[in-house]
């Protein structure tokens, strides 16, 4: 009898001891918390944080380029599992662009997420004494890079929502700035790029971190400044500010060399499990309507004979069709799932140069267009030098040179020519802009 009692008393005692102890408090067991960087930001931390920026700047790019490419009638996006690429984006039937569907919400949120990644780093740098870890020049260089990224990300969102605008000031997540219209947004983006340029020029000789191979030509504050100016040139062109465009181009990496059209800054991709693969690549072999990008049928017939830029599409054995759309040519702009996607490259800069000179120095426009034409295997431009003709020629060259790089829709919109884009099904629409995502509560 007694021995049982003792045993049970012992067990009870053990139990009480176990139970009465404090509950252990856990931090996030699986991930690094944001708060952790608010003090003691180290060089290693900064490398990781900038690395995250490189990562997130590529999130949902595929959707961004599909949005621009499909609405700009560069290509169709067929998907067996999502009807909205051929429905909503082309305005099929009664369908319109929804303000709460992935084609706007996903790229929009990804761009702002990248802006937040950058703003957090700016906050860490400003919120603590970093003198033990970084020189002032290194801090400047970092800020210049971060601000350039922010400006570029904002520009991509503005490209989608156009006159619906964007929020320019989002540094304080609890006190967001207002939505501002297209022109004011461009002004703000350009101002931020100029501010970034000033930081970069005070940024010494090296960044305190390494960048991916897509930035190999721009991996110092001095060279990155050229890339900053290249983006600023694009913004100035969107503003219709030709002289500023030329000034920015002058400080950019533009070279008038047909061998170096592909010089530039790139998004890179890999098959590493934590990385992203090129979202715009589909293998031509085995291509089916389940997942395909098919060039809009006018793309090939409307090209001049001998244009070698038609290598960006591939003729298929049989047409691929879906939803009353059909095409013989598949997009082959990217030839593998690890191909780079340009952020900005020399070919675009030369075309920006041509565009800016239409009003300032038309002969320079013709020279630049001829450089592009010749490199595409085409003879010199034979048209007149009046602005309308040059603009049309410039837009045509941009159409083929920058095919599937997200420009066509925006270019046609800039020149009020969206009505010239082809309508493939009677009830289709060419959208001017995306609505602001529902959750912005506008």
């Amino acid at each position: 009898m007694k021995k049982y009692l003792y045993k049970i008393m012992f067990f009870a005692l053990v139990l009480v001891t176990t139970v009465s102890c404090e509950v252990e408090e856990f931090s996030d067991l699986n991930n690094a918390e944001v708060d952790a960087f608010e003090e003691n930001l180290t060089r290693g931390d900064l490398q990781d944080l900038v690395g995250g920026l490189l990562y997130s700047s590529r999130l949902r790019l595929g959707t961004y380029y599909d949005d621009c490419g499909v609405i700009g009638r560069e290509f169709y996006r067929f998907s067996g599992s999502d009807p909205r690429f051929t429905g909503d984006l082309l305005g099929g039937g009664e369908l319109t662009l929804d303000n709460n569907t992935f084609y706007i919400t996903a790229p929009w949120a990804s761009r702002y997420l990248t802006v937040k990644n950058a703003n957090l780093i700016l906050g860490f740098l400003d919120g603590q004494d970093t003198s033990a870890q970084f020189t002032t020049a290194e801090v400047n260089a970092t800020k210049g890079l971060l601000k350039t990224f922010i400006a570029y990300e904002l520009l991509l969102n503005l490209n989608l929502t156009y006159e619906n605008g964007i929020r320019l000031d989002v540094a304080d997540e609890n006190n967001l700035g207002p939505f501002v219209g297209y022109n004011q947004s461009l002004t703000g983006i350009r101002a931020l790029l100029v501010e970034a340029a000033s930081d970069l020029s005070n940024g010494g000789s090296d960044f305190p971190f390494i960048l991916s191979s897509g930035f190999s030509l721009f991996n110092t504050p001095g060279t990155f400044l050229q890339a900053n100016n290249a983006i600023a040139a694009r913004v100035a062109t969107y503003q219709g500010d030709a002289s500023a465009t030329l000034a920015f181009l002058n400080n950019s990496f533009m070279v008038m060399d047909s061998e170096q059209l592909n010089l530039g800054m790139f998004y890179t991709f890999s098959l590493d499990q934590t990385d992203i693969a090129n979202p715009l690549f589909f293998s031509i072999e085995g291509l089916s309507a389940a997942n395909a990008r098919i060039a809009q049928p006018n793309f090939v017939p409307e090209a001049e004979t001998g244009d070698n830029r038609l290598s960006k599409v591939v003729l298929l054995d049989d047409p691929i069709m879906q939803d009353d759309l059909s095409g013989n040519y598949a997009l082959f702009r990217y030839t593998s799932n690890v191909d780079d996607i340009p952020i900005v490259r020399n070919e675009e800069l030369i075309l920006l140069y041509a565009e800016a000179n239409i009003t300032i120095n038309p002969s320079e426009t013709v020279n630049a267009l001829n450089l592009i034409r010749n490199s595409a295997g085409l003879p010199n431009y034979t048209g007149t030098n009046d602005p309308t003709a040059l603009t049309n020629e410039m837009l045509t060259q941009r159409r083929y040179s920058l095919f599937a790089e997200g420009h066509r829709w925006i270019d046609m919109r800039r020149y009020n020519k969206l009505g010239d884009l082809p309508i493939d099904r009677t009830a289709d629409d060419v959208w001017v802009q995306f609505p602001i995502p529902l959750t912005e509560n506008q």
Binding site: E25, G51, P83, T105, Y112, D275, D323, E440
Partner: protein, 985 residues
Amino acid sequence: MKQKNSYRRSILLLLLVLPCFVFAQSTLIGKVNSDKGETVPFANVIQKGTTNGTTTGIDGNFTIEVPSLPTTLEFSSLGYLTVELRVTNATPITVTMGESAQALEEVVVTGLATSVKRTNSANAVASISAEQLTGTTPPPTLDGALYGKFAGAVVNSNSGAPGGGISVKLRGATSLQGNIQPLYIIDGVYVDNSSIAAGLNTVSGAASGGSASNQDNPTNRIADLNPEDIANIEILKGASAAAIYGSRAAAGVIIITTKRGKAGETQFKFSQSVGWVEAINLLGVRDYTAARVEESFGAADAALFVAASNAGTLVDYEKEIFGEHGIVSNSNFSMAGGSDKTKFFAGISHNNEAGIVLNTGYEKTSFRLNLDHKPQDWLKFTLSTNYIYSSSDRGFFNNDNTGTTIGIALTATRPWDNLFPDANGIYPDHPNNSSNPLQTRDLVRNNETVNRFIMGGTVNLDIYKADNSNLELILRGGMDMYAQKTRAIFPKELQFQKLTNGGLNGVSSQGDTQNKNYNLSGFLVHNYFTDNDINFRTQAGLTNEFFDRNTVLVTATGLVASETNVDQAANTGVNQTRVQQEDSGFFVQEEVNFQDMLIATIGVRGDKSSNNGDANKLSYYPKGSLAVNINEFGFWKEDGAWDQFKLRAAYGEAGNFPPPGALFTSYNAFSTGGILGISLIGVRGDKSIVSERQKELEFGTDLSFLDGRAGLTATYYIKTIDDLILQSALEPSTGYTSEFVNAGALENKGIELSLDLVPVRTENFEWNLGINWFKNTSEITRLDVEPFNIGAFGAGLGTFRIEEGSSATQIVGSFAGELRVVGDAEPDFQMGINNNLRYKNLDLTFLWQWKKGGDNVNLTTLLTDLNRTSHDYDDITVDPDGLVVNGQYRPGAAADVHTQDASYLRLRELGLYYTIPKAMLSGVIGGTFDSIRLGFSGSNIINIFDYNSYDPEVSNFGGGTIFSGVEVTPFPSSKRYLFHVAANF
């Protein structure tokens, strides 16, 4: 230190009480009968809590002297259930003892360590016996046996894949973001019911389209439990009954008791069932004609169609994939027995079930050993152990964004496509899709294997027993450990894995999960009876639970040769997820039973948890209830028509933890061309998040009349959830698309009715009829954030929307930018009708289940429309103007076309059994067999619904959400037919 003090106090009490024993003496006489009317000789008659006792004579009579009245007598005899009888006067006593094979008077739990007679319960606690659970037809999984058997539960199968994947939701919407699945407790052990994804997303890309929810559809781990081991299930549907389980109880608690041995001759039981499964409903092929093929697919395909049609080589690929008859085999063997001191139950079972798709199936082996040991009168040990091995092959189904799952591939497949392998076993590439579904079916492996050990032990110690009071100490410990392996293998020869097709050259995704939960608790239960038969029962206890899960998922792509090891690959990614939680709490409860007329309970639980923002802050969950048995008040004659007339009311509160990660804003690790980086993932956490709090008030009545041949239970409840945790949408320009906040309140109101009838009861024929009916409506009563969409694929196709004043499960669609309500997932009502007819030795049982109303978002037809393969493509049924064929109308139409009524009426279970009586078996193997039972059963045999797909019961996003009923090319559900033979010996 509570126990120790209480213990000392009880010793003191004991010393005070002891001297009372020496006063008046009474002589009690009586007779003990069995429930079959025979006398029970040599039964023990003991004055409870003392050593004073006697035995009955050969005629069943006894005489016992007791020191005072009232007192309690305990009657026990081998092979009979022990009977306790409270004696208040000295009139002769007649005691009827039931054979131990029969159920005790039904009891329901009221505390962590106590239960009361059902007739005294203040809650509508549902309970399911072993007979109801497995008696009609053996369910493939435990949760699959709950359909239609009690009021208040929505049981939903997420897909038809073998091996489970079922969600159980009690009393409507419990939470929007938190846990909605009930807590499962088996023999005192908190068992894990996780669903662990196998990493199919790498291939399907389903979650890349913007819906973060896991669409892998893994098994939920409660499927591991063997239904044949279960003696009884009790369901505490809401906080009013479950408050004593505190911070984990908001979604209800399912308390499972397994079978235990009984003293007496060892009973052996063997049963074997064999049968098959087949799809309940296939959609069929579009009514193709040469003209239609030409219009939809062009002249080349039209020629192929005509050629195939003339050659008779058109293939119904849906039938080819889903048309298998999967063989099902269940074997069970158990033995039970023991002595008065030590009893055991041992059972082993093996289930093997093939699916309706080749290479899918489910296999499970379970071994159980339950021991009870009672070394002394006042001391009892119980031990429950269960080992389970299970393996399920679930195929590759549901949504994807890559055209690779079998379901998506089928939508693009036409009867004239040639997908069969050639003589060398080489599969042709699908002409019209990125994967060949036959090749995917034959070569892809998606397997989950679990080795699980569940063990629980209890010590009951009567610290002291006296005539009118006693004190019991209960110590309990339990552990649930399992190791789960997931293996998803996509070989490189698959069409979508070939490098030349832009594939990854083979994917091997291997996950390993180690899960360990343990829980410890100690309780003291004190009973005190007054002289006028008022019982006070006080209990207090401490509890501690610890949860630890670690999942490592390795995904390798670019496989070497035909290797599947993850190191034999070009690229390898690793993902680790840890979940740890520690909870600790106490509870106290007081029950007062006034002569079975009034039964009142009041109690409180206090809990702290590492999962709260402030881990060591106690949250309190009170409860209180009152049951009034009007029939006991003496208004009615003892032998009147009323057996019971009870009114009851109960109130309780319970908690629901914030989901993992809700407390933190964190970076995730990624890389860019080999450069590591950390990036936000768009979700903002909040350290000040508190648990959701559920407050439930229920009241109702239990009526029973005509000698128990008619019974009605009616319950009305109001269940509110405060501090509702929302992953509310945040302006994406903040950098976060959503954040966790306590920002709302949700209310559910519902009615539950159960009617039990015995319309006919004669010696040879008996008909038992049970009907349950229930209805729930939910409403978001407060929302502190902007209304937001959740849980589907956007407003264009129909999405759920959380909005103040609306149902929590309303479905809205976008009509030219304007949102309109197009449906609601909540059913209008559900109903179960259970019939049990027995004629002599023949038993017929069948269960109908009717779900009326509730809508699904059906995207399967949309996907087939886009590929022009819909079975009803050329019909004109959805266009209100009657002009456009379905296949062309639906893709451009607004969301209301995809939102469809998901009502159904099913013959859920049917069983027909014949028991060969013992008399006929006397000559067989020396009369070894006590009985042999032969039978036939089935489930889902008749299914009636209007819904335009395989089955309205479906959930693309699995069971962890109230937003079920979204369908994207699921694994079709199946019906089962089984033949049985069972022997007792």
